[in-house]
């Protein structure tokens, strides 16, 4: 099920919230209801895969439980290997198998070896997210950061918890393990209301802004880059830049909002990323939970910062290649990861100093430009087309015959999107934003923002009813 679908907004969400609010304040009953709702939520969009999740979680749960009981380090490592191997193996089969075979075929074709037939594999929704969460469970227990859950259904709830199941934020086990048992305590009225407000803001980001940006981006990116002029290429790139941010951060806001309503505190996933002053800074603000996962479960095990500079650069390269590959089984994602990795390395080497000297605005412009160009490689799977597109962006060809006619709503909403992307540079707005999301509001502020949230909710319902189905970008991953 999709948060921005009419079935979710008018049936699932109201029923879930209503029934949940009427249940007695007992964590067992509430967790059972959330688990049951999560199964329905996932089955609605991916009925075939619900059994795959249920089966792997059984295996994972018991492997980790046995690992925890072992004291012999070698045995513990072996069980960790099995558990992580199981998760990564499934991810490989579902997500990367055909990509792997495709590349093997390309190489074997050079030597005249007959190609291997590609299997028809459909990617289970959200597999990249819940695989990473399963890994945090195994690794956190292995590292003895937290003991495993005693009850299988609690573990199942951690994995399948519907708000964050499909597109994150990636919630690490040790961040949520205690909440599974005590989230009911956090079910305060202020949390519920601010959760509802955050949900409506996220929904509006997706429905009112990202969809309009997406429609324009699709129109440009479906054309051959050779047939468009530079202006159109920039419009497409900018539209996609705004689409992916409002789409993904909108989803995260909705997930965090629903979590708050039921007493969970999910980590924030975005912090005004387009106001970053460097690519290093960008990765502290964009998809924060993926960055944290990569740091804790890949970068640090590789040696982290405590290595020679050359090894450090190699590690950074590995992390960003993996981050790119995590997004999709295609070379364009690998390139996108490498592209960001490259800027991160040169920033570490010398560029950060130069940016510091240049000042805030030039640094933001530099980062934004790098990010916008990067999104072209992210958007276009065909890497040759992506290079052609970027070339067009910088060819300064303004032949009007090769221009595109933009959508009327895009002409206005692009400014709204840019406004909200950069407005946090203003200190007063930033403090208001932090007040809404992170600290308590006064009663009058709650009344005002709840009213605004309701207006946005109704507006979004109208836009969802009157538009064709539009899934979230990160559903593919």
């Amino acid at each position: 099920m999709v948060f921005s679908s009419i079935s979710f907004l008018t049936v699932f969400f109201p029923l879930f919230i209503l029934i949940y609010s009427l249940l007695p304040k007992k964590v067992g009953i509430k967790n059972t209801f959330i688990l049951f709702s999560s199964i329905i939520f996932y089955s609605w969009g991916g009925p075939k895969f619900i059994f795959a999740i249920l089966t792997t979680t059984v295996l994972d749960f018991f492997l980790v439980k046995i690992m925890h009981q072992k004291n012999n380090p070698a045995q513990r490592k072996l069980f960790l290997f099995f558990s992580v191997g199981l998760n990564l193996g499934l991810l490989f089969i579902f997500k990367y198998f055909n990509f792997f075979i495709d590349n093997v075929n390309s190489v074997s074709g050079i030597f005249g070896i007959s190609s291997i037939h590609l299997a028809k594999i459909i990617l289970p929704i959200g597999i990249s997210f819940y695989t990473f969460e399963s890994i945090t469970y195994s690794v956190d227990v292995y590292r003895r950061i937290h003991k495993p859950l005693d009850n299988f259904w609690e573990y199942q709830l951690y994995i399948i918890l519907f708000p964050k199941l499909i597109a994150g934020p990636i919630v690490r086990y040790h961040d949520i393990s205690d909440q599974i048992k005590n989230h009911v305590q956090n079910e305060t009225m202020s949390n519920k209301l601010s959760g509802f407000i955050q949900f409506c803001i996220g929904l509006s980001k997706k429905v009112l802004i990202a969809n309009a940006m997406g429609e324009q981006a699709d129109a440009v990116f479906s054309m051959n880059p050779l047939d468009i002029n530079s202006q159109s290429a920039w419009i497409g790139a900018l539209a996609y830049t705004m689409q992916i941010y409002f789409d993904f951060s909108g989803y995260s806001d909705m997930a965090i909002g629903i979590g708050k309503i039921v007493g969970f505190r999910f980590p924030e996933n975005f912090n005004n990323p387009y106001t970053s002053t460097s690519i290093t800074d960008f990765w502290r603000r964009w998809h924060i939970t993926l960055g944290a996962w990569m740091k804790n479960y890949l970068y640090i095990p590789l040696g982290g910062n405590k290595v020679t500079p050359s090894k450090l650069y190699i590690n950074l390269g590995i992390v960003f290649l993996m981050s790119g590959l995590w997004h999709g089984a295609s070379w364009n994602f690998v390139f996108w990861g490498a592209y960001h990795g490259f800027f991160l390395i040169i920033e570490r080497a010398f560029l950060l100093n130069a940016l510091n000297k240049a000042g805030k605005i030039p640094s933001i412009l530099y980062s934004f430009l790098v990010v916008v160009v990067g999104w072209v490689f992210f958007r276009l799977e065909n890497i040759h087309l992506a290079f052609g597109f970027v070339k067009k962006m910088f060819s300064f060809n303004f032949n009007s015959a090769e221009g595109i006619v933009t959508n009327n709503d895009f002409d206005y909403l692009i400014f709204v999107a840019l406004f909200f992307s950069f407005i946090s540079l203003n200190k007063h707005v930033k403090s208001l934003h932090d007040k809404i999301f992170y600290s308590g509001m006064s009663a009058a502020q709650y009344v005002f923002f709840t009213f605004i949230a309701f207006v946005l909710y109704t507006l979004c319902l109208a836009f969802v009813s009157g538009s064709s189905f539009n899934p979230f970008i990160y559903f593919r991953f």
Binding site: P14, L15, G45, K192, A443, A462, G466
Partner: protein, 461 residues
């Protein structure tokens, strides 16, 4: 002092107890609001009139029922989602609200490929491109096609059948002064229409240039020939077009064809029928006010018992519909058929029967006296949609035609099968989503795969 202190402490305590109650009250309002959304969604829609009721009943018959199969192939979920959007009371209220917002705020009309121009004039993008020459297919392609048309025309003439090509006007050309400003940045270049007309003349084809005729009439026409909020020519424009075509047929057949006469013209402030086709589809809360009055002619056909009927087959885009609606197909064209884009067969009573590929082309052509191919300037890039090429092959290389048409029939039958089977259609929808292509292309790809499979099985046997 103590009393003073007590007094000072009291207000915060009151505020503290007030805030939780206030927040609880707010949360209850949120719950009530969400419950109202759910209740509205669950209510049965009010069927506004009999027509809508009938339509919904027909839909219900086709509705996918909840079953293991429909759940696992997602057809139940897809249909429920669609149903909730468009057929629920909440959807029925909110869709026009959203459309109105788009229209008022952004001058945006939510009908695929349509845009709003100056003074509220609505245009179809392909028809704007037709005017600007942005969909020009090239002189060579047009010449090749028309040479084939000429060969077909000559062959059919020997069988006493006339082929007539009709170039209908497009709204982009006729109402060019109202085109959206954004499109005017494009330089105007050679158009399909210009080359079609010049080549038709050069090759000696039978053709009627209704575009030129309409543009000549424009300054003096009694009533508008194109409507502000519609895509097609107006009812009055249709009358003029039909009249011209009938007279042309009479001339080349040297035989009487029932004449269209306008008995009366009703002038109305609000557009209706085809004169409001796009604004009607736009589903707004309130329709915009038109700048002119609308003319609705009441027509009759003067038939003669002493004349031999002329059976006319029309192949055309949606502009040909006027021949159906005003009764020309029935009374003037001897109940001749209309092949919409050379695909769907429509009878003179408006009912759709087969698809063209299911018919015997030779038999169908030869049971008529006249074949009309009518396309307006926005759809000239696909003039005839394969009819001319098929007819050319049929009469010049019948053996090859037989082989090719068998292949085409096999493919088309699979396409039809996919469209009529919810499970197969769902697979196509999934493929379309995965491959980022439109559903029609995904259906074609799946049909090719099914046909290839059938052929390889045949080869094995």
């Amino acid at each position: 002092m103590a009393k003073k202190n007590q007094k000072i402490k009291t207000p915060p305590q009151k505020a503290k107890s007030f805030q939780p109650r206030m927040l609880s009250f707010l949360w209850v309002i949120v719950l009530l609001g969400l419950s109202a959304t759910f209740i509205l969604q669950m209510q049965k829609p009010n069927e506004e009139n009999d027509k809508e009721k009938k339509k919904n009943e027909e839909k219900k018959k086709e509705k996918v029922k909840l079953s293991m199969a429909s759940w696992f192939n997602l057809s139940y979920q897809r249909e429920t989602e669609e149903d909730m959007k468009s057929n629920s009371p909440i959807g029925k209220q909110l869709i026009p609200f959203k459309n109105q917002l788009d229209y008022d705020l952004f001058d945006k009309i939510n009908v695929k490929d349509f845009v709003v121009g100056k003074e509220g004039y609505i245009f179809s993008i392909p028809w704007i491109e037709g005017y600007l020459g942005r969909n020009f297919i090239g002189e060579k392609k047009i010449e090749d096609l028309l040479q084939k048309a000429k060969a077909v025309q000559d062959t059919l003439k020997k069988k006493n059948i006339d082929l007539v090509l009709i170039y209908a006007p497009g709204k982009g050309t006729y109402c060019k002064d109202f085109l959206p400003e954004k499109f005017l940045k494009y330089p105007k270049s050679t158009t399909n229409y210009e080359v079609f007309v010049s080549k038709s003349k050069e090759l000696g084809l039978n053709y009627i240039d209704l575009q030129e005729y309409f543009l000549k009439l424009k300054p003096t026409a009694k009533y508008p020939l194109f409507a502000q909020f519609a895509h097609h020519w107006t009812s009055y424009g249709e009358c003029l077009a039909i009249d011209s075509v009938i007279k042309y047929i009479e001339k080349i057949r040297n035989s009487y064809v029932a004449h269209l006469t306008i008995k009366e013209v009703l002038l109305e402030d609000k557009p209706k029928y085809r004169d409001a086709d796009i604004i009607g589809k736009a589903k707004l809360m309130s329709a915009p006010t038109p700048s002119t009055k609308y003319a609705f002619p009441k027509v009759a056909f003067q038939t003669r018992t002493d004349s031999k009927p002329v059976k006319v087959l029309g192949i055309g885009d949606s502009y040909y519909r006027g021949f159906l609606y005003l009764g020309a197909m029935r009374y003037a064209f001897d109940n001749g058929e209309y092949w919409y884009y050379n695909n769907k067969v429509t009878l003179s009573n408006g009912k759709s029967t087969n698809e063209v590929w299911e018919l015997d082309l030779k038999k169908e052509i030869e049971k008529n006296n006249v074949i009309l191919i009518l396309y307006s300037d926005g759809s000239l890039a696909n003039f005839g949609n394969g009819f001319i090429q098929n007819a050319y092959q049929l009469y010049t290389n019948p053996e090859q035609y037989l082989i090719d048409s068998q292949k085409e029939k096999q493919l088309s039958s699979y396409k039809k099968k996919i469209r009529n089977n919810p499970s197969l259609l769902n697979i196509a929808v999934d493929n379309a989503e995965a491959m980022h292509i439109d559903i029609d292309s995904a259906i074609t790809l799946n049909a090719i795969e099914m046909a290839a499979q059938q052929n390889s099985e045949k080869d094995k046997h």
